[in-house]
């Protein structure tokens, strides 16, 4: 690959990356209102290693908040965060603080502030972006969850302890099929997270083997992991690359870059094949970033995705339970070169063949877990909608494709950027107005599979209206406020859409409260409404059936959903006590449904499970709790678990206090309980 074309491909990757991660910018903070209270309060604390109790120097402690104590909704924008670096004794002080609520968190590379950190951000976990995810994971400093502290005028809050846990490490050696060190091979961990009671293994931190074949993946938040040598066989039509170069040099037609944008909207990352693939027919093929080999019979040989200890299916893989500071060595792999097969087919949508469509071949869900997040192979359709996967190992697979509407960017990008105009401008066909989804099973055994017909259908919509029902007779919000309500469907299995799907604006209601969502793939979803200010969802029904706590099963368009918003703010608050403990800020309070078995069966809607940190004095408060019967439990943060894990819910139900939350504030004091798991 030449310097010029590499530069272009590299630049495009850079250009598209922000789109994948794009979020609407936060509203700018507005000027500070000078108030009468004096800035005289003080917060004093220390950052400690949770395992050893030793102070941690050079940790960055961040203090945010300090918003006025005015009525909710009238709060001013967040003040600029203050950051301090702890000294040798791990201590810190923030002074000259105005009265208010503050959030404190600590961070240092090599440590985590939470034993239950969320996985990789949604959208980045889409297969193919493993490298991006790994980069994010490596560069980010994991900042712990925040401790909330309310201070009064002149108050001195001393003795705050912020605990950090040392992260864990896995290491080993990878050798190739000939026993030589495999150099530059990516090794990745996948962290086990529970969604709706089922395990998912989210691709996380990764490292490449060095010139000795050795790898070392650090900064792992304690938890259960698989170690993987992922190998995705990536194919892309050479026409896309020649089209790109043609547009660049003016020798072809403009708009060659649109193909790459189309790929991004279908969640496929072709960079491997673009940057260093082998030409096979009219495709460029790359194998996990390296070059695939040809066997004696002309078939491609490819390395197989391996899970430690050298198995090819996650179900047979060893699950490593990593604790804080663990250092697991000797996780070695020998790569296996296997003969592969070819899968060909055609993708069609409602209006005919789909060109430049990314198609993924993934391992389907099995008894142990969800659909694999590691793609076995990806390819891209030709202009006539046909596609070829090269380098497919035998096995049962799911063929998946989606096409999201192209983000509205061409017009703006072309302005002032002649090359962008060449790349993205010009007479390209208009984007599909609707998202399209397709999925089918394919089994590859001993022969090539040809003429697979993959049909993509428009996404399904949820539509209905939002009504307001105030117990206190408060009028419904004005239309301009109703228009800001957003309606979101979250897949019950947690599988993200990938690609650019995260970029588009959320679906909003109109001034009358009517809404119609974008198209979603068929499946089960949880419905949620956000941006509602003081209003809270009380119920959502479709044809009289609950679709708020129970998942909405989208098989056809779901029209006529009625969402009722209420202004009763059911709140649960109280104080946690613990013998011998004066600072309770390292306490987590959990609330899970009392009928947890039914809740688990219905998909564990996160709306009905809550976690908050107690304050220093043990006080805690949960706002907007849906009415119902719950178990509440207070445990140490070191015992935290995953509220989507049925086993942990069982634990909470055993130690929890039964409480009924109605439509009025409820008080419940709790004793901190030790958890043995």
């Amino acid at each position: 690959m030449t310097r010029l074309s590499l530069f272009i491909v590299g630049s495009l990757a850079v250009l598209i990356a922000p789109l994948l991660l794009a979020q609407s910018p936060p509203a700018p903070g507005r000027g500070a209102a000078a108030g009468p209270p004096k800035a005289t309060a003080l917060i004093i604390g220390q950052v400690l290693d949770a395992s050893t109790g030793q102070p941690i120097s050079d940790a960055i402690v961040t203090l945010t908040g300090g918003r006025g104590a005015g009525p909710a909704g009238a709060a001013r924008g967040p003040a600029t965060p203050q950051r301090v670096m702890t000294g040798a004794d791990g201590r810190f002080v923030f002074h000259e603080l105005l009265p208010g609520q503050f959030q404190l968190s600590a961070g240092l590379k090599g440590y985590t502030g939470s034993l239950n950190a969320p996985g990789v951000p949604a959208g980045v976990s889409a297969a193919g972006s493993a490298a991006a995810a790994a980069m994010l994971a490596a560069v980010a400093t994991t900042t712990g969850p925040t401790t909330t502290i309310a201070v009064e005028e002149g108050e001195v809050v001393a003795g705050i302890r912020l605990r950090l846990w040392k992260t864990a490490v896995v290491s080993g050696t990878v050798v190739d099929d000939g026993g030589e060190p495999a150099i530059g091979i990516m090794v990745q961990v996948a962290r086990r997270v529970m969604t709706a009671g089922r395990a998912r293994y989210l691709p996380g931190a990764a490292a490449r083997t060095d010139d000795r074949g050795m790898y070392r993946i650090s900064s792992l938040v304690p938890g259960d992991y698989l170690v993987v040598v992922p190998q995705t066989q990536t194919s892309i039509p050479t026409a896309i690359l020649t089209g790109l170069m043609g547009s660049m040099t003016g020798s072809g037609s403009p708009g060659g870059g649109l193909a790459l944008l189309d790929l991004a909207t279908s969640g496929v990352n072709p960079n491997d094949a673009l940057a260093g693939g082998v030409r096979v027919g009219d495709y460029m093929v790359a194998s996990g970033g390296s070059v695939p080999l040809s066997g004696a019979d002309g078939r491609l040989l490819a390395y197989q995705t391996l899970f430690y200890p050298g198995v090819d299916a996650p179900a047979q893989a060893s699950i490593l339970s990593l604790g804080s500071g663990d250092d697991r060595t000797g996780l070695n792999f020998q790569l296996r070169l296997i003969p592969t097969l070819r899968v060909t087919g055609a993708a069609t949508g409602p209006e005919g063949p789909l060109a430049n469509l990314g198609v993924r071949l993934v391992a389907p869900a099995d008894g142990a877990g969800n659909e694999s997040e590691f793609d076995v192979a990806t390819t891209v359709t030709r202009p006539d909608g046909t596609f070829t996967f090269h380098g497919v190992p035998p096995g049962p697979f799911l063929l998946r494709a989606q096409k999201q509407p192209r983000p509205p960017m061409s017009a703006g990008m072309a302005a002032g950027s002649p090359l962008m105009e060449m790349m993205f401008g010009g007479g390209a066909a208009g984007p599909p107005a609707e998202a399209l989804y397709g999925s089918m099973s394919v089994t590859v055994s001993s022969a090539d599979v040809d003429n697979v017909g993959l049909r993509l259908a428009p996404g399904l919509h949820a539509a209905g209206r939002i009504v307001f029902d105030s117990a206190s007779g408060r009028p419904a919000p004005p239309p301009n406020q109703i228009q800001t309500l957003t309606v979101t469907l979250t897949p019950m299995d947690g599988q993200s859409g990938g690609g650019l799907s995260g970029m588009s604006q959320p679906d909003r209601a109109n001034a009358q409260g009517e809404f119609r969502t974008r198209g979603y793939a068929a499946g089960r979803y949880f419905l949620s409404i956000a941006n509602a200010g003081n209003w809270q969802v009380r119920s959502a029904t479709l044809n009289g059936r609950d679709v708020l706590d129970a998942p909405l099963d989208l098989r056809d368009d779901a029209t006529g959903i009625v969402v009722t918003m209420a202004d009763e703010l059911a709140q649960l608050s109280g104080t946690v006590t613990s013998r011998g403990e004066t600072d309770l800020s390292e306490t987590s309070v959990y609330l899970v449904p009392a009928d947890y078995r039914a809740w688990i069966t219905a998909g564990m809607n996160p709306r009905r499970a809550r976690t908050v940190r107690a304050g220093r004095t043990g006080s805690y408060a949960m706002a907007n709790v849906p009415a119902g019967e719950y178990f509440a439990a207070a445990i140490d943060r070191a015992d935290e678990g995953d509220v989507q894990d049925p086993a942990f819910i069982e634990v909470l139900s055993r130690i929890g206090t039964r409480v009924v939350v109605g439509v009025t504030p409820r008080t419940l004091d709790l004793a901190k309980t030790r958890v043995r798991r």
């Binding site: 002080v93 900064s219 030409r279 090359l419």
Partner: protein, 644 residues
């Protein structure tokens, strides 16, 4: 001046009468059109082995062969005997590159490990082509440990090795291919950079200050005071009676260069030998005091300017520091025209703004849509967009600066027209898309290429359908005018012949000077008019064969072609080019603007030396002088003599 720059004797170049040589010409020299043959019958075998005394065949080497700059390379992988065969090749000159992780990328025929372009192998149709042998060097390794200020291992820190080249007495850092030089430390603070070519390197923690956050360092005085207040406060709601000591300094991690400096110019250069493993290249994180810079942007009538972006750049960028611009976060002005930039590490900086003044102070409504946001982000690469500019130099030494005033002044204008010199093609009727960009002549190659790609020129270009154009909002400085593709080509792939839609920029003339190659100096208050930008569909071509003293075609020596006018010896100039002859000794240089040139064969040339006047001055006396006319296809063979 270091004579070792040349690293070779200059070869006296003797002109040969053209008609004396009747050479078998390959497809490329026969004409501009690509070969019509869909698939050829030629075969090429490449055998790769280790470059060691006891040479071993190397398996699993990716061998890429490529005939043209923008062709998709063919890639093959060597078998256990280190052999790969390319079949069904069309005739042509193929460049061959061998890659294998852990080994130095090898360009066939290049004398410099890890660097191209090397010698192209001339593949002849219907002929048994000789086997090409490539020896690959095991890459060198750099290892070390990164620690924080208290000696603890620093995990997850990016460590980067950059190659250092010296040109014109200045050391310049050069990025290595495909991210070879960049790694992240593990939990023990250890790093290992491998696959390096022998050469000079600097090692640094380049992006450590990237967050740009203001962090205050705790002092023992502060903590002692806090303890005293806590002890004396019987109950909450009692205001502390003791005055607080001064707060600790605001600090940030600064980029650090081995062996332990935050100043790029003081970086130690490590000379790494072939296949060497160098350990102990340890680095320590450096915490430096930072300052907050506050100021405001006003127009000529002192009215505050909201929503404009203020950029910070080192006043004197160091050629060893490739990332300073990334570390500086632009600031946006508030409704009252004020801006705040936090976390500025010590150094000399220039604050710059490009904007169109607005009379009212009302803030722009709402956040921009993603496309607009992206366009604005691109524009920032070129310094923003607008009719006016402002710049202010500041020196930061750890203390906050306030009241920096940036007053917008009208930018300069360059005006002219576009002319098409058409011989075979019809010129476009609408010239608005001809594409012109003005880019700072002092920008690095990467910046130039990226600015061109993104359309982030240093000024706003407007082209009318009839080809008249105006470039507005130009700040004082030195600039080149070219097409975006021309800029990219000059920065990344000279000689690639940037022909957008078949049209090549021939010249951009002001008073007889071609400002596409020789930068124009724009001074405050002086507009430039009457620029004539000419596009042609008939680029020139200089071709020939290099022969040794026994009249045998010889591929071993690069050819340097450069203008006899020193004004054009500038970075990225089309009038200074180098080309490697193919294995049959033939060479082609396309797109040379009309003029008088020196042609010289040398034993080796570094790209960074190519524009160094000292280097070219040495070549001139040994060169052959010739003239290229507009659109001329000139043939000139070169015969090598013995050096003086």
């Amino acid at each position: 001046m270091k004579m070792s720059l040349l690293a070779c004797a200059i070869i006296v170049t003797i002109a040969l009468p053209v008609q004396a040589r009747v050479q078998t010409r390959d497809a490329r020299t026969a004409g501009a059109a690509p070969s019509a043959t869909p698939s050829g019958r030629a075969e090429l075998t490449v055998v790769v082995s280790t470059d060691e005394p006891s040479t071993q065949p190397l398996r699993r080497v990716s061998v890429a062969i490529q005939a043209g700059e923008i062709d998709i390379p063919r890639i093959g992988v060597t078998d256990d005997a280190g052999r790969v065969v390319f079949r069904e090749l069309t005739a042509g000159n193929y460049r061959i590159v061998a890659s294998r992780p852990g080994y130095v990328r090898t360009f066939y025929g290049s004398l410099l490990a890890g660097r191209g372009p090397g010698v192209a192998v001339s593949v002849v149709e219907g002929q048994r082509n000789p086997e090409v042998r490539i020896r690959m060097l095991r890459g060198s390794v750099l290892t070390g440990i990164v620690r924080d200020s208290s000696g603890r291992p620093a995990p997850n820190q990016q460590v980067q090795a950059l190659m250092v080249r010296t040109a014109g007495g200045e050391k310049r850092a050069v990025n290595l291919d495909a991210g070879i030089g960049s790694v992240i430390t593990d939990d023990r603070g250890a790093y290992r950079i491998f696959g390096l070519a022998p050469g000079d390197y600097i090692v640094s923690l380049p992006l450590i200050g990237l967050t740009g956050q203001q962090v205050r360092q705790m002092t023992t005085a502060e903590l002692a005071w806090a303890d005293k207040v806590a002890a004396s406060t019987a109950r909450p709601s009692t205001a502390p009676a003791i005055a607080a000591p001064p707060e600790g300094p605001s600090v940030s991690y600064a980029p650090v260069y081995y062996p332990g400096t935050t100043v790029a110019a003081e970086a130690g250069v490590l000379t790494i030998g072939p296949s060497e493993e160098r350990g102990g290249v340890d680095l320590a994180l450096a915490v430096v005091p930072t300052a907050q810079i506050r100021g405001r942007v006003v127009d000529g009538e002192n009215r505050p300017q909201s929503d404009v972006t203020v950029q910070v750049r080192p006043t004197q960028p160091d050629a060893l520091d490739l990332y300073s611009s990334l570390l500086m976060r632009p600031a946006r002005t508030q409704t009252d025209g004020t801006f705040t930039i936090q976390g500025v590490t010590p150094g000399a900086y220039t604050l710059t703004v490009r904007a169109t003044p607005r009379g009212d102070t009302a803030s722009a409504a709402g956040p921009p849509n993603p496309a607009e946001a992206m366009r604005q982000a691109f524009a920032l690469m070129g310094g923003g967009s607008g009719s006016h500019w402002a710049a202010e130099d500041i020196v930061v030494e750890g203390r906050d600066l306030s009241d920096v005033t940036l007053m917008l002044r009208p930018g300069m204008t360059i005006a002219g027209r576009i002319v098409y010199e058409a011989t075979t093609k019809a010129p476009p009727t609408d010239m608005t898309r001809a594409g012109l960009t003005l880019i700072s002549a002092t920008a690095s190659e990467t910046t130039t290429a990226a600015s061109a790609l993104l359309g982030a020129g240093a000024a706003d270009v407007k082209i009318a359908a009839d080809g008249t154009f105006t470039i507005t909002g130009i700040a004082p400085g030195s600039y080149r005018l070219n097409t975006p593709l021309g800029m990219m080509s000059s920065a990344l792939a000279p000689g690639f012949g940037a022909a957008a839609g078949g049209w090549t920029l021939k010249s951009a003339l002001v008073n007889g000077r071609d400002i596409s190659d020789a930068p124009i100096d724009m001074r405050s208050g002086t507009d430039v008019a009457g620029v004539v930008v000419t596009f042609t569909d008939r680029p020139s071509e200089l071709s020939g064969t290099v022969l040794d003293s026994a009249d045998r075609p010889t591929p071993g020596f690069p050819i340097v072609v450069f203008s006899t006018d020193r004004a054009y010896w500038t970075q990225g100039s089309r009038r200074v080019q180098q080309v490697r002859p193919a294995s049959n000794g033939t060479f082609v240089v396309t797109g040379l603007p009309a003029g008088e040139y020196y042609v010289c064969a040398v034993t080796a040339v570094e790209r960074t030396d190519l524009y160094d006047p000292a280097f070219l001055d040495q070549l001139a006396p040994a060169s052959l002088k010739l003239t290229i006319a507009d659109g001329e296809k000139k043939k000139q063979d070169l015969k090598l003599g013995t050096g003086p």
